[in-house]
């Protein structure tokens, strides 16, 4: 499982404060904690700062990269801001994200064309949110097709079929999972990724739903997740689910996690 640590996001109060006071140590600590807990990428998001977003996002990238050897997931709805932050990034970033929304697609496609950047392809378009499996597949086909035609390697693409809240439509859980499964079938070598917390929006005991949903998605092939790696129970669940899904040779990761005490308490 490719873990994208979600904690360095300015919509979280502590991160917002650290950014405003340019508290490098605070950001670096969150980065190191996430890396130690198993994050492969550090998501960085300064989206709440409208005018200062590019400056702050670049600063976050530098902070993460001075504190850890992990690459960043450059997270912004604004393509220009993504480009600015990628410019200061060392190594291969993960672009979070391209979508079929015209403005984003037209600007980011030439930017990632022919590069080795990793790209999250979010199944959203200008025609509103996808509801069904077919809606998601139609968007995924156009996105993946566009990226492949522009010399982005299939193994660098992470399709996010878009998790939507179960509270407003009880088909949204399986719509995500079924779409994901088909995308994995249609494009051998491709990755999938998602944030899970949206599934539980509007419902109580959200962690419980998030964990079970993650497990269900892993059983059908999900191999990337934008999560809080410091959530030990979630990480333990992911490792167990991957072993059960047959994606952990000789249960090596499961046993390693056991010896590290991840399943205690």
């Amino acid at each position: 499982m490719i873990i994208i640590g979600e904690l360095i996001n300015a919509s979280r109060e502590a991160i917002k404060a650290a950014i405003e006071s340019q508290d490098s140590a605070a950001i670096q600590k969150v980065a190191q904690d996430q890396a130690r807990a198993g994050a492969d990428y550090m998501d960085v998001n300064a989206g709440i700062f409208l005018d200062q977003e590019p400056e702050y996002l670049k600063w976050l990238v530098r902070m993460v990269q001075t504190a850890t050897d992990k690459p960043c997931a450059i997270d912004s709805p604004n393509p220009a801001v993504i480009e600015a932050a990628v410019m200061v990034h060392q190594g291969t970033p993960l672009i979070n994200s391209i979508s079929l929304e015209k403005e984003r697609f037209d600007r980011l496609l030439p930017f990632v064309a022919g590069t080795d950047f990793k790209v999250i392809a979010l199944c959203m378009s200008d025609e509103g949110m996808p509801q069904t499996v077919d809606d998601r597949l139609r968007i995924a086909d156009k996105l993946v097709g566009g990226l492949l035609n522009n010399n982005v390697k299939v193994e660098n693409i992470f399709v996010d079929p878009l998790v939507q809240p179960l509270s407003v439509n009880n088909s949204y859980g399986l719509a995500f999972i079924d779409a994901m499964e088909k995308i994995l079938d249609n494009y051998p070598g491709i990755h999938t990724a998602c944030g899970v917390s949206n599934i539980s929006y509007g419902l109580p005991a959200r962690k419980y739903l998030n964990h079970i949903f993650m497990t269900m998605a892993i059983s059908k092939g999900l191999d990337g997740a934008i999560i809080n790696p410091l959530d030990r129970r979630l990480m333990a669940g992911i490792i167990a689910a991957e072993a059960l899904a047959g994606r952990d040779d000789f249960c090596m990761n499961y046993l390693k996690a056991f010896r590290e005490g991840l399943f205690e308490g």
Binding site: G128, S167, V168, N170, L203
Partner: protein, 207 residues
């Protein structure tokens, strides 16, 4: 027998029972306005309050609206022109650049349940379309939704051109990144943190 039973049936999310109770009240000759106000609308008010307090959740709000609507359908043909006149017209939509519609849909549904006429423009709506529609529909309120921080300026823009058009319409804003302070800053006439709060707000603005 009383409209209390209609109210209770809505709070129990029981569509079959709501229909039966409404029919029973109609049969007993209960005033239609009383069925509407004390049974159906009052139940949705309490659903809204409980939702705001965190005691009810989104699926329960959706289900209660569906149940209430089933009851409403039965009395609709019997309403006089005066009784069926809406409490006001609200033009609602998610602003330009934003595709998110869940919050907007909840607000529209609750306003409709409270007796307002809703003109839902959907998502990714141009500022001019809000203003044009509000003028055509002689709307009382324009309700703007946004989930992305990047689309907050589109709210400001919409409010600016609404004011410039000099219509007798109030503007209200809501959505995850929006706050009372932001609403004040862009000179919106109101802000609410959730759907039931929006109903209260619109009642205040229109009433």
């Amino acid at each position: 027998m009383s409209t209390q039973e209609i109210y209770n049936a809505i709070l129990a999310f029981d569509e079959v029972s709501v229909k039966a109770k409404v029919r029973a009240e109609l049969g007993a000759g209960t005033d239609i306005q009383t069925i509407l106000d004390d049974g159906l609308v009052r139940a949705m008010d309490i659903v809204g309050e409980r939702f705001s307090a965190g005691d009810l959740f989104i699926p329960e709000m959706l289900k209660s609206a569906q149940v209430m609507k089933a009851g409403l359908e039965l009395i609709k043909p019997l309403l006089t022109t005066d009784q069926s006149r809406s409490k006001g017209t609200v033009v609602i939509g998610t602003v330009k650049g934003d595709q998110h519609d869940i919050g907007k849909n909840l607000v529209a549904m609750m306003l409709e349940g409270a007796g307002f006429k809703i003109v839902d423009l959907g998502v990714d709506v141009e500022s001019e379309v809000f203003v044009k529609t509000a003028a055509e529909q002689k709307a009382d309120v324009i309700a703007l939704s946004s989930l992305l921080t990047t689309t907050m300026p589109a709210m400001e823009q919409t409010i600016r051109i609404t004011k410039a058009a000099n219509l007798a319409v109030k503007t209200i804003v809501g959505g995850a990144p929006v706050s009372q302070a932001f609403a004040h800053q862009i000179e919106a006439d109101g802000y609410s943190a959730d759907a039931p709060g929006t109903v209260k707000l619109v009642k205040e603005l229109v009433g």
